[in-house]
């Protein structure tokens, strides 16, 4: 029982971060059909800016707010300088643009910050909580609660605000959205800004557990993308669910099967699922209406 709970929390904590990255992928994809591979860099920026601002003497909440602001500004710049000028290009071209942008952001971070790993103090101390014989870090609860709050907040925004509805309308049909007077350019910029903010919050929450450096974004982008695909790209609920599933798969594969092949096991399961259900767990079947 203790082992089960331990693995469960290990998987959920890692999975929550994957879920946030996958959610970022989904948001931008919905609004623009661009798969933004710079998504992982927002997580990195969230962690790194917070660390350096905190070390420079800012209180933690302020440092975190600054980090989110920097990530959002980066997201907007990415949209304005890289995505918008390439408007009308094929999806593959846009994907390559985002990969290039992620390399640029990583390189800049390496120069502005440094190449070392950094840690943040945990928000509520390092003393583990005991639950059914398992030891849970308070920070893990922060991560889970934070991810939950973000998902809930995003749902409120999408369902109950005009701007959110504009995003959904653009996602559903861009041309129709433009015809009813929605400025889809602003919607797209907004999608980048929100996904950057989500990534940054994830980075801030998780840095006390996982440490951070200029290079952490790459692997997160890969795992987050895998989760987004598994969930059926473009489906926010699927993205969150799949992120958690991916984290759990890794934890249980490491704990019960083989730690050497845990990533292999996780990706194998994803491949099998996608073979059986090419549209992903919750993706809509692609139906051409005539």
């Amino acid at each position: 029982m203790a082992e089960l709970v331990q693995l469960l929390f290990a998987g959920l904590t890692t999975g929550a971060v994957y879920a946030l990255v996958a959610l970022g992928f989904t948001l931008v994809f919905q609004a623009s059909e661009v798969v933004n591979f710079a998504q992982g860099e927002f997580v990195m920026l969230g962690g790194m800016v917070t660390v350096f601002a905190f070390e420079a003497g800012l209180p933690l909440p302020l440092a975190a707010a600054l980090a989110i602001a920097v990530a959002v500004a980066t997201g907007l710049l990415l949209h304005r300088l890289a995505i918008e000028p390439a408007k009308g290009a094929t999806v593959v071209t846009l994907i390559i643009v985002t990969i290039g942008a992620s390399i640029l952001i990583r390189g800049l971070a390496q120069i502005v910050f440094d190449k070392q790993f950094h840690a943040l103090p945990a928000f509520s101390g390092d003393e583990p909580l005991r639950l059914f014989g398992a030891a849970i870090l308070p920070q893990s609860l922060w991560v889970l609660a934070g991810a939950g709050a973000i998902v809930f907040g995003l749902w409120l925004f999408m369902e109950h605000t005009l701007l959110g509805k504009a995003v959904r309308a653009t996602a559903a049909n861009r041309l129709a959205a433009e015809l009813v007077g929605i400025d889809t350019r602003i919607v797209l910029a907004l999608a980048f800004a929100i996904s950057a903010a989500i990534g940054a919050v994830g980075g801030i929450l998780v840095t006390p557990i996982t440490l951070t450096s200029y290079a952490v974004g790459t692997i997160l982008a890969l795992k987050g993308f895998a989760a987004a695909m598994l969930g059926g790209i473009g489906n926010p609920v699927g993205a969150v669910l799949s992120g958690l599933v991916l984290g759990l798969l890794e934890a249980f594969a490491a704990g019960w099967i083989s730690s050497t092949y845990k990533d292999g096991v996780a990706f194998l399961v994803i491949l099998l699922v996608l073979l059986a259900m090419p549209q992903g767990l919750l993706g809509r079947r692609a139906v051409e209406r005539v």
Partner: protein, 380 residues
């Protein structure tokens, strides 16, 4: 035959004519280091050390009455470049010996070049394959990960334990050390009851540590460096495991203590004397050498000393002393003098070489440290 005699005649005439001058001709010592690139944290202090001490040796009158001249190339951590520069050192620079090779990969790429040319080569890299099997002209100064395993297991036995849970990174350093540890464990009376792995960049190792906990391990040994080691250390404390934790010599830097935070308390690791020169007892033969090097390096370079620069110091000093003992720069004779080195006290340990041991360090080269109150404490 006539022609050869003519050439020899001209050569000896030239030698006679320039007799006094040629005695002052510098001794060329070559080097290829990873001064830039991913291994620059190793190569940069190595280069600084070589230049610093070549200057000091020359100021003190040089070797055999001749100055030494360094020819240093930067291979950027690339094995192909290393091989190219090795060839250049031999063919166009005509160096008499080489001290260099920052990483095991660059070293292994260059070895055949120097072996063919019969030029003594002292490598600064860690891999045991450099000197095992022994190659006639290849030496190395740093200790190996096999020795780190042996030192850890020695300490484990001393504390009355024998069941070890291994956890290692699948990346180069961790994988190599894990293999060495598994190999030497039976000889040391150690039973490996768990052998867990994680990928570089993994941010959570609690599932693996859970398995170690269930395996009945009495101590945990982690083979990795950098972020991975810090995460494992934090996870061990997070799980509330009361098992003693050993880290590798790869974490022997202040940044590890900063990253692991309070969780690092009580962690033990094997490390070179360079980490704690002030704590060495006065009777320790290495104390003076290590302190001198540390003071010289830090006062001239304005940056903290590292064990890596120390490897270069040891290599250069070993070579210079061998040339002095050989009384010549002839490759074979210098090699013979090098492998006859006995009782050389370097920053890495006391070196006793032989024809079958081209590293010459024993377990006393490693000290056992424990992290207490956020700093290193020398145990023995």
């Amino acid at each position: 035959m006539n022609r050869l005699r003519f050439v020899l005649g001209v050569a000896s005439a030239a030698l006679l004519a320039t007799g006094p001058l040629s005695a002052a001709e510098p001794i060329k010592i070559g080097s290829f280091l990873s001064v830039t690139g991913p291994a620059s944290f190793l190569g940069d202090p190595e280069k600084r050390t070589l230049e610093l001490y070549a200057e000091k040796i020359n100021a003190a009158g040089g070797v055999l009455g001749r100055k030494i001249e360094l020819v240093i190339y930067d291979d950027g951590g690339d094995a192909n470049n290393a091989r190219t520069f090795a060839t250049r050192l031999v063919e166009s620079d005509k160096v008499v010996a080489v001290v260099g090779g920052t990483t095991t990969a660059t070293t292994m790429a260059a070895i055949p070049v120097f072996e063919d040319a019969q030029i003594p080569f002292i490598s600064l890299a860690g891999g045991i394959e450099i000197v095992d099997p022994v190659k006639p002209f290849t030496f190395k100064t740093p200790h190996t990960d096999k020795m780190a395993c042996e030192k850890i297991f020695e300490d484990v036995k001393k504390r009355g334990f024998s069941k070890v849970g291994m956890i290692s990174s699948t990346a180069g350093f961790g994988a190599s050390m894990r293999n060495q540890c598994l190999k030497v464990a039976p000889e040391r009376g150690i039973q490996i009851v768990a052998d867990e792995r994680y990928a570089p960049g993994d941010t959570d190792t609690t599932p693996q540590l859970n398995k170690i906990k269930a395996s009945g391990a009495e101590v945990i040994v982690n083979a990795d460096f950098g972020q991975g080691s810090a995460i494992v250390t934090r996870n061990v404390r997070q799980l509330g495991l009361e098992l003693p934790l050993y880290q590798s010599h790869g974490v022997a830097s202040k940044s590890f203590i900063d990253l692991a935070g309070p969780a690092a308390e009580g962690v033990r690791l094997p490390a070179a004397a360079m980490l704690v020169p002030e704590q060495l007892p006065d009777s320790d033969p290495q104390k003076k050498v290590v302190l001198d090097y540390k003071i010289t390096y830090e006062s001239t370079q304005k940056q903290p000393v590292s064990t890596f620069g120390g490897h270069a110091y040891d290599g250069l000093m070993l070579l210079v002393q061998a040339i002095q003992r050989a009384g010549t720069t002839d490759g074979v004779k210098v090699r013979d003098a090098l492998q006859a080195t006995k009782g050389f006290v370097g920053t890495g340990g006391v070196v006793n070489m032989s024809a079958t041991d081209h590293m010459g360090l024993d377990l006393s080269a490693f000290r056992m440290l424990e992290i207490r109150n956020g700093t290193w404490k020398l145990l023995y």
